[in-house]
């Protein structure tokens, strides 16, 4: 039987019940305990600079820069602005040096703020951006 205002009682019940809203910046948000894919964390002491993460990255967000700390004298630098948080780098890393954390509240005012430096930020090199070399067509 069609009639207007079928939703009346449900709506009125909403007025008096507790609201579904989370007052987010002033309260904790909703997060699963495990397995969230957020910003990366790199343990440079474990990293060997094998480039596995760079090769597997679908959006080419990882660039290898020279470093004194790793075996191959290279280490990854991650551009969060380009990262799609798929987690393939985490799986590709055989030495458990790269992880995705549950740190998802990311925002930046400039492009270069989104590039994660780990431990020793060599600023001059990173400011160039992380364009891959041009392939011949």
């Amino acid at each position: 039987m069609p009639r207007p205002g079928v939703i009346v009682w449900e709506a009125l019940r909403n007025v008096f019940s507790k609201k579904a809203t989370i007052d987010y910046p002033f309260e904790e948000g909703v997060k699963p305990k495990y397995g969230l894919r957020g910003a990366h964390v790199l343990y440079i002491e474990e990293c060997t600079g094998c480039r596995a993460c760079q090769r597997v990255c679908p959006s080419l967000a990882i660039e290898m820069v020279p470093s004194e700390l790793t075996k191959t004298k290279k280490r990854p630098v991650i551009n969060l602005g380009q990262c799609i948080f798929c987690g393939l780098c985490e799986e590709a890393c055989r030495y458990d040096a790269l992880f995705l954390t549950d740190y998802i509240e990311l925002s930046a005012f400039q492009q270069k703020e989104m590039i994660i430096y780990e431990n020793e930020p060599p600023k001059e090199e990173i400011s160039e951006g992380n364009e891959p070399k041009e392939e011949d067509s």
Binding site: P4, G5, I7, V8, A11, L12, N14, V15, S17, K19, A20, T21, D23
Partner: protein, 363 residues
């Protein structure tokens, strides 16, 4: 006509029952409206501007005033400015006639109900002009819809207003309020008037262009209709004007059907006598003013809540469905009930049904 009288009147128009007070009650009612609308949808609505977000409409208005005002090249610039200012002025003028702090309005004369009926039509005309001057492709269907919608809600709203005038045998709002005081009951408490009250609320919803009758401004169809090209100050004026119109409609409904700013004194004669006695006393007159204002605010808020619930609980109609609904149902029913009222009034006022009507009295 002393100097004091003039100063008091000008102050009254500018601040207390006049412009300043009306704007603040309009902003308050917008907050109530938004908060209740959000609550019906299981969310909390404005929360972080002032106490529970009570300053939210003020912040919106101030921000719009401070923003850049873009005028499209193709538009009629002076026309746009003119409509924005007149659009704000009309409901402000109309609100001066509504009794808020007393049983008579700030301005009042015999037959002011006719002027108000004219002003409600003017608002629709201004909306039409606003859309026309802005020369936007999306505004055009909005204006066309506004014009055709005007024809169909204006008749029921006028009939409802004149039915009250007929019932109370008075063409001024002060007279209507006084009649309700004398009869010891609001106009609403008799059968035909309930129909007119509902018709009045429905038509106000259409006049205010709120869902389910927000056809001229339908956001998901024609991107805000006639107000699509307005920005900055002009948009702020139009939004404030919409709020003022809401207060005006609610205030008119209160005055016509719910006894205006009067309250319990309708049924407690001694309290009414005391109120009448303190009116001349300078110190205690403030109490009476506060009492009337509170009563008015409570009643308008109730009407706003009803209008707000209307908005939340139905889908938007199409323009031709609205016209059909209006011309096939609302107008014939209103006309019929109006005819009944025409015979009903003298009958009840004299002898026959006067004790029957006692059933509707609360006292």
């Amino acid at each position: 006509m002393t100097a004091v009288w003039w100063i008091l009147t000008i102050l009254g128009i500018l601040f207390f029952p006049g412009i300043g007070f009306c704007i603040s009650i309009a902003l308050f009612d917008e907050w109530i409206d938004r908060k209740f609308y959000a609550a019906l949808q299981d969310r909390i609505g404005p929360e972080h501007a002032g106490f529970k977000g009570i300053l939210q409409p003020l912040a919106d208005f101030l921000k719009l005033l401070a923003n850049e005002d873009i005028e499209p090249e193709a538009a009629d610039k002076w026309g746009m400015r003119f409509t924005a200012i007149i659009g704000l002025a009309i409901p402000l003028v109309a609100l001066l006639f509504i009794p808020i702090i007393d049983t008579t309005g700030l301005l009042s004369f015999e037959g002011d109900i006719l002027l108000l009926a004219f002003l409600t039509t003017m608002i629709a005309l201004i909306i039409f002009l606003a859309g026309w001057f802005s020369a936007s492709k999306l505004a055009m269907p909005g204006t066309m819809r506004a014009a055709s919608q005007l024809l169909s809600y204006e008749i029921p709203i006028l009939l409802a207003m004149f039915a009250v005038a007929l019932r109370t045998q008075s063409f001024s709002l002060a007279g209507i309020v006084q009649w309700q005081l004398d009869a010891h009951r609001p106009t609403l408490f008799s059968l035909p008037m309930v129909v007119f009250f509902l018709v009045f609320l429905l038509s106000s919803q259409a006049e205010l262009e709120r869902s389910p009758f927000d056809i001229p401004t339908a956001e998901t169809e024609i991107v805000g209709g006639w107000e699509v090209e307005y920005s900055g100050k002009k948009l702020g004026f139009f939004r404030l004007s919409a709020d003022l119109q809401m207060v005006f409609s609610a205030g008119l409904a209160v005055t016509l059907f719910l006894g205006g700013p009067t309250g319990v004194e309708m049924w407690i004669p001694s309290f009414a006598d005391w109120l009448a006695s303190i009116e001349g006393v300078s110190g205690l007159a403030v109490v009476a003013i506060l009492y009337y204002t509170t009563m008015f605010a409570i009643k308008t808020t109730i009407i706003v809540l009803i209008l707000s619930a209307f908005r939340a609980l139905m889908a938007r109609l199409r323009i031709e469905q609205f016209l059909e609904f209006s011309w096939k149902w609302v107008i014939p029913v209103t006309l019929g009930v109006f005819a009944i009222t025409f015979f009903y009034v003298p009958w009840t006022d004299n002898v026959v049904w006067s004790h029957w009507e006692g059933l509707f009295d609360v006292s």
